[in-house]
Amino acid sequence: MKTIFKYFITFTVVSSWLVSCGDVNSGKSSSQGALSTNAAEKVYVAPGEHDDYYAFISGGFSGQLAVYGLPSGRLFKVIPVFSVDAEKAWGFNEETKPMLNTSHGFIPWDDSHHPDISQTAGELDGRWVFINGNNTPRIAKIDLTTFETTEIIEVPNSAGNHSSSFVTENTEYVVAGTRFSVPFPQRDMPISEYKGNFKGALSFISVDPEDGRMDIKFQIMMPGFDYDLSHPGRGASHGWFFFSTYNTEEANSLLEVNASQNDKDFIAAINWKKIEEYVNNGGGKKVPANYAHNVYDEKTHTATSTMKKEVLVVDPTEVPGAVYFMPTPKSPHGCDVDPSGEYIVGSGKLAAELTVHSFSKMIKAIENEDFDGDAYGIPILSYESTLAGAVKNPGLGPLHTEFDGKGNAYTTFFISSEVVKWKLGTWEVLDRKKTFYSVGHLMIPGGNSRKPFGDYVVAMNKITKDRYLPTGPEVTQSAQLYDISGEKMELLLDFPTVGEPHYAAGIAADIVAKKSKKFFRLEENEHKHAVKSEAESKVVRNGNEVHIYMTMIRSHFAPDNIEGIQVGDKVYFHVTNLEQDYDVPHGISMIGANTSELLIMPGQTESFVWEAKQEGVWPFYCTDFCSALHQEMQGYIRVSPKGSNVPISFTLDGDPVDIE
C-alpha cells in the first residue's frame, strides 16, 4: 500500500511537472540531466511518508551526532554527546552536567568521530550507537529508544582517541585505540626521548549484553606508533581486531615528512579472544589511573559521574600468539573488513595501490611462522604471505572502504575526489564517480556488519567550495548520496550537514523506529526531585538555597506565583512534565538565568539553578511551543531584599496548589 502510494504520488508530481515544463528537452534542468536520471524521484519522500534508513552522521568538531533520513537527506535531530547543547540543556541542567565530567574536570566540547551501531551475530540490532570523543579520549553510548546519550566513559593512557568506536559482532567490545602515543605512565620527560618510551594503548571496553553498561576490560600497551583506524573481524575472523598504524618511525616532529620514511607501516592484528582468556585467567597488571565513568539513568533522569582509579594493562609480548603486525604500504588510514571477514583492506594514503590482506593467509603465515623480524617483540608477518591482492591504479589518496554485501567494495579517494567501485577477489575497478569535493569517509548502511543494506552509499566531503550559496569563508559541510543498486553508481543528492561529517553509520529504519520511546511513564519517574501531581508541588527554603518543585502541563506551571525569594538566594527549579502524551515536551527558562532553558519530555523531571541577583518581580515562561495557549504559560517570582520578612508562598490561581 505504502509503496504503491509513493509511486502514485511520485508519478503525479513528475507528470504535473512534465506538463508544466512543456518541452522537457529545453532549458537548464534537462541540460543537467535531472529528468533523464530521475534522481529527484529516487530521493523524494512524500509529505508524511518516512525514509527507509536512519543515517547517524558524526558532527566532527561540533562534538555531536546528527540523525538524517535516507534517501531524503533530511535532518531529524542533533543528539548532544560531547558538547553542551542549549537546545536540549545538555551539560546545562543539573541532570546532565555529570555526563561531561572527565579527569580534566568539566569538558564541554569534544571532536566526535566514528559512530558505530551495536550488533548481534554480526547484524545490526539497532539498540545503541557508540561514538568516540577524539580530543579528550572518551567513548559515548547513545540509546536508540530515546536517541539520548546514556553513558560516557573516559579512556586513560590515550590521546587522540581515533581508532574507535567500532564494535565486535556481538557487541562484546567497543574499542578505543589511541591515535597519538604518549608516555606511559604520563610524566614529565623530554619529548625527544619519545622513541621506545611512548606507548599506544588499545582499549577494549566491554559492553553488558543486557543494559549496555561499559567497562574498560583491558588495555593493550602497544609500541609507540600512531593507531589510526580499526575494524573488527567477523565470521571466521571474529575474535580478531585490526588497527592501522602510521608513524612506525616513532617521529615526534614534522610527521608529514618524518613519519613518511618507512615504505611500509603496519596493520596490527589483535586476537582479542586470546587476550580476554589471558585476562580472565588473572593475566595483566592493574595500574593506577584516573578516568571518569558517567552514566545516565533513565528512571531517575539523572546522570552520575564516578572516578575510576585503576585500569588493567596487558603487555602484548606476554601473550604469545595474540598480536601480529601486517606490513601495509604507506601510511595506511582506513582499515576495513569485508562482510565475510576474509579481506582486510588497508588504504595507504601515499601508496599507488590499494592493499588487501587475506585473513586465511594471515592465519597460515602465523602457523608457518612466516615472519619478517619483529617490532618490540611483536612478530612482523612477511608482506607477501598475507597479501590477498591489490587494486591497481585505483585513484589518489585512498581513505576508506565499505562493502555492498554483493561482492563489491567502494573506496573513497581524497586527492582525486572520487568514489571507486571495485570487485573483491578480482581487484578490478568497476566504476568511479566524482565527489564534490575531497571526500573522507563513506557509508553504506550496515557496512560494518555481515549484512550490509546495499542500496545507497553516502560520501562525506571535507570541502564544498562553490557547491552551495556562499555563507562567508566557511561554507556548509556536506554529504552526497549515491544509488548503488545498479551496476553503475548514480549521484542522487547533495545535502548539507552539521559540523564536519566525519563518519557515519546507517541502519534500516524499521529496526529502530518500532522501538522508539513515545513518552516517559510518570509512575516510573524516580527522579529524586520529581513531583507527580500539582498537589505535591512546593517551595522549600534551606539556608540561602530555595528549591522549587514545580509541575508543567498544557498550558500552565504549578505553582506560578512564588514569593519570599531573597537577593543572594540560589534558586533550584526542579520541574516535572505531567504530560503523558507523545511529543508534548515543555520548556522553561527564567530571566537572567546563566544557563539554557530546560526542555522536558512528557513524564520527565529536570533541574536548573537561577541566582536571584536583583529585587523585583521576575517572569519565567515556557520555551517550547506547546499548545494554543503556550504564550500564556508563564509565571512570576518575587525577589525581596536579603533578610526580608516576606514569607515563602506559592500559589496557582490564587489558591494553595493542593486545593481539591
Binding site: M1, K2, F5, A46, G48, E49, H50, F519, L522, E523, K532, S533, E534, A535, T551, I553, R554, S555, H556, A558, L578, E579, Q580, D581, Y582, V584, S627, A628, L629, D653, I659, E660
Partner: protein
Amino acid sequence: MKLKLVIVLVMALALASCGGEKPKKDVSGAEPATEKATEAVADADPMANKGIGPISSVTLGEIDQTLVAEGETVFKAKCTACHKISKKFVGPALKGVTQRRSPEWIMNMTLNPEEMIAKDPIAKQLLAEANGAPMANQNITEEEARALLEYFRSKN
C-alpha cells in the same frame, strides 16, 4: 504512514455513510452496540450521549471503594493539573459529573479526547468554555478510566 491513516479514515467514512455498522468494544461484556449519530445531541438529553471512542456500554453497580481509591490515585497524578473537584479550573469542576454525563461519555472523553473535541457536540462546547484549551491525552488505560469513573461517582 499518515496516508494509510487517511485511507483507513476515508474507508471508514465511506462505510459509515453506507449505513455500515461499526462494532465497538464493550467493557461490561455485553453485546457490541451500534454507534449512534451524535450531531443532534447538543440540545437533547446529555445523558443519552455516549460520546465517541472505545466505550459503548458500561454497567454500573454499587460504588466499589477499592476502585474509587485507584481512581483517586490516577486522578491526582494525571488530571489535577486541569481539573479540580470543587471548582472550575482549566477544565470543568468534576463534582456531580456522573449526573450530567453518561458513564460511556466520561470514559470516552478520558480515553479519546482529540476525537471527542473534534466531533462530539458537548465536548466541542466545553472546549469553547475552556477558551480553546483542549483536553490533554494522558494515555490513560481503559482500566484507569473505569477507576476514574468510579472516583467521580463517589464525588456526587
